[in-house]
Amino acid sequence: MNRALGLTGLILALGGSLLAISVILTGLKRSRPELMRMGRAYSFVVLLGATMAVAAMERAFIQRDYTLKYVAEHGSSTTPALFNVASMWSALEGSILLWGLILAGYLVVVAHKFRKRLDDSLVAWALITMFSVCVFFFGLMLTAANPFRGNIPIPGFDGPGPNPLLQNHILMAFHPPMLYLGYVGFTVPFAFAIAALVTGRVGEGWLVETRRWTLFAWGFLTAGIILGAWWSYEVLGWGGYWGWDPVENASLLPWLTGTAYLHSVMVQERRGMLRVWNLSLLCATFSLTILGTFLTRSGVVASVHAFSAGSVGPILLGFFALVVAVSVGLIGLRGDQLRSVGHIDSPLSREGAFLANNVVFAALAFVVLLGTVFPLVIEATTGDTLSVGPPYFSRMTMPLGLTLLLLMAIAPVLPWRKASGELLRERLWWPAWTGLAAVLLAVLLGATGVAPLLAFGLGGFAAGSALRQIALATKRLGWRGFVGRTNGGMVVHLGVIVIGVALAASMSFMSQGEFTLKEGETARVAGHTLQFLSSRTVDQPNRVELLARIKVDGEQVYEPKLNRYRQSGQTIPTPSVKASLRDDIMMSITTAPSESDPSLGLRVIVQPMVTWLWIGGLIMVIGTVLSLFPGRRRNPLDAVSAAAPIEQVSA
């Protein structure tokens, strides 16, 4: 039943997409607007199909319908309800199903939003592009990554449940959907970019149409990445929130190019420059989401030899190559129309700073991509095994990150076209002192090391610039000084700065220790005392928990756990964290007390400022929401570089 329902949904979605493409194409070819307008109806068909498939899958998980292979492999009667629902996206096929549902959702919203312009060739081509992406994903689900493969369960069979790590924390229910809302959301600006290239309407029109869509997708991607970091911090128990794991890198890559685009698009809107570059960034962002899915879902990263295990990998890689080829081909075809109308007058200008920003973001994306695929390339060409791990990424990205902080300090005060040294000295006065004060404060608090101190100083400098912009805007516009792209963007900058400072502090000033404690004994780390009081075991339906009671600093008691999962036999610690704005104390059990040895193995990690990472993430999301509101628009008749009115210069 579930299987039939799911497959019907997938076929409906695939068929709807294929029909939509041919109908819209026919409409375009024969100039029949009534055919082009049918795209909206077809988008509802695709969404209906995708919803049916997802509903069937969830129903199968809830009913523990083991006639589905996917449920038999990832479901279990003992999985708690919430994680049971989240089990759908705990493995390859189900996560592609989630991808399909979100894609269909975006498709319907686009078709609805542009319902009055469906016979406009730009919108028609954008819909064709989106339907084509639908064809790929629903086609993939009906072939290589079919979530509805059948299974004949033996009587009394019970599945193993999802990977124990994935049923350990509530964030697992929210992090993947958020991330996918971001990933998939970039399909919309990509579709419009392709449409602009196909129709030859490569001016600034399509940019303005998709501005908010891009920001929306970017906001979800940001939230998804930060929730992912939070999840790994809370669950993995080694004090880390970012391991430069290929899966994490795959989510960071489109974020980097997307962020570069959000900045460079302003140069194009304002000065008509960087057209090819912006199109390339959007195409790169979309293709990197596909490449990321390929890298993380095909098993290619864990080992090159896992490549032949499934056919999903080659198909995704093929689609990636197709997207890249189409994008490059179209950009080449329209090359003559993409020549910019303006040019940069001076590197020391707003557009010059955006250009520098783009160089740094492109460099970051390049380093992350290179580091991720390098071991594969080396193994494939020379047969050598080597690892490119966190030490590499930290060393390479640190100078680039510091450069970004410096740019965030200077760029917001730069005018368009040209700035003078006099102007910079005037506007950077307070931001510079703020930066210096930040370094002084850090030194007084006992911070050492040039790199973290530079991060604090540049963070203060950049925060000064962002606050200056917000202060000036609110002084002039009241509460409206917080909304709009520029001011909301400054709030996002503040969030980034908070995260940057928290990263520098938590990575540079981490202290840790491993202890073997008998009941009543005390361990000391970084000025904190931890006393092991007692331990007990609790039986849960799917696991046995061992809880240790740890008294921290003579006050509250925390209970880190060690879970042994019955089905898989795996032992997974659930760390306990005493979080505060100053520092986090993470306790994780390494060995459980037993009859023969009653002592507890406890790992303790103390890191300053980790909580500020999540606060910074929240500020970034708030800033993104503020940016989505329309701000005060400049008069379209003003010259692109019009100076502010004279009477306000000395305000």
Partner: protein, 172 residues
């Protein structure tokens, strides 16, 4: 520019800022532990070694038995007074590709070299293209018709509204 802001233009204020910054940075320059047998040094070394039986975890981050065994090996070598490099080489000789820092020699060193060359190349190209564009001057000169159009539009705008619409992206 407001008169009360003239001190902002004085070079010695900015030099003072620079001097204070350098003094602070030099006075607080720290080093990571390279000797002794502190847990901090242990985990700093362990973070550079891959946990060979885990996926994507370092010896510092993993709770696997092999990682615990590696950590005790590192601890005993630290107690023997061996340097960080000696300890890392000990593991590198026994397990292929176990170091998370790619090598600085051989084919593997390309991962360090390529980004540096690429970034420097991109920056040079960009600087060159900016220079060429600037020397070429404005791309198009407005024709008299264009200027007339602009006149009409500005005219229309000034008569149409008295609200001063200012741009939020520019500073007052």
């Amino acid at each position: 520019m407001n008169k009360r802001h003239t001190q902002r233009q004085k070079w010695w204020w900015w030099s003072l800022m620079g001097v204070i910054l350098v003094v602070l940075l030099v006075s607080a320059a720290g080093t990571s532990p390279t000797e002794g047998n502190s847990d901090d040094r242990l985990f700093a070394i362990a973070a550079q070694i891959k946990c060979v039986q885990c996926v994507g975890e370092s010896v510092a981050g993993s709770a696997a038995p092999i990682a615990i065994q590696f950590r005790s090996e590192i601890a005993s070598q630290m107690n023997q007074g061996r340097t960080n490099d000696e300890i890392l080489n000990f593991f590198a000789d026994r397990y292929e590709g176990v170091l998370l820092t790619p090598p600085s020699t051989g084919v593997g060193s390309l991962v360090w070299v390529i980004p540096v060359i690429a970034i420097a190349g991109a920056a040079l190209l960009l600087a060159e293209s900016l220079r060429v564009r600037r020397s070429r001057g404005p791309v198009q000169q407005p024709s008299p018709e264009d200027e007339a159009l602009v006149e009409v539009a500005l005219e229309a705008r000034h008569s149409e509204t008295s609200v001063t619409s200012t741009d939020t992206t520019d500073d007052p």
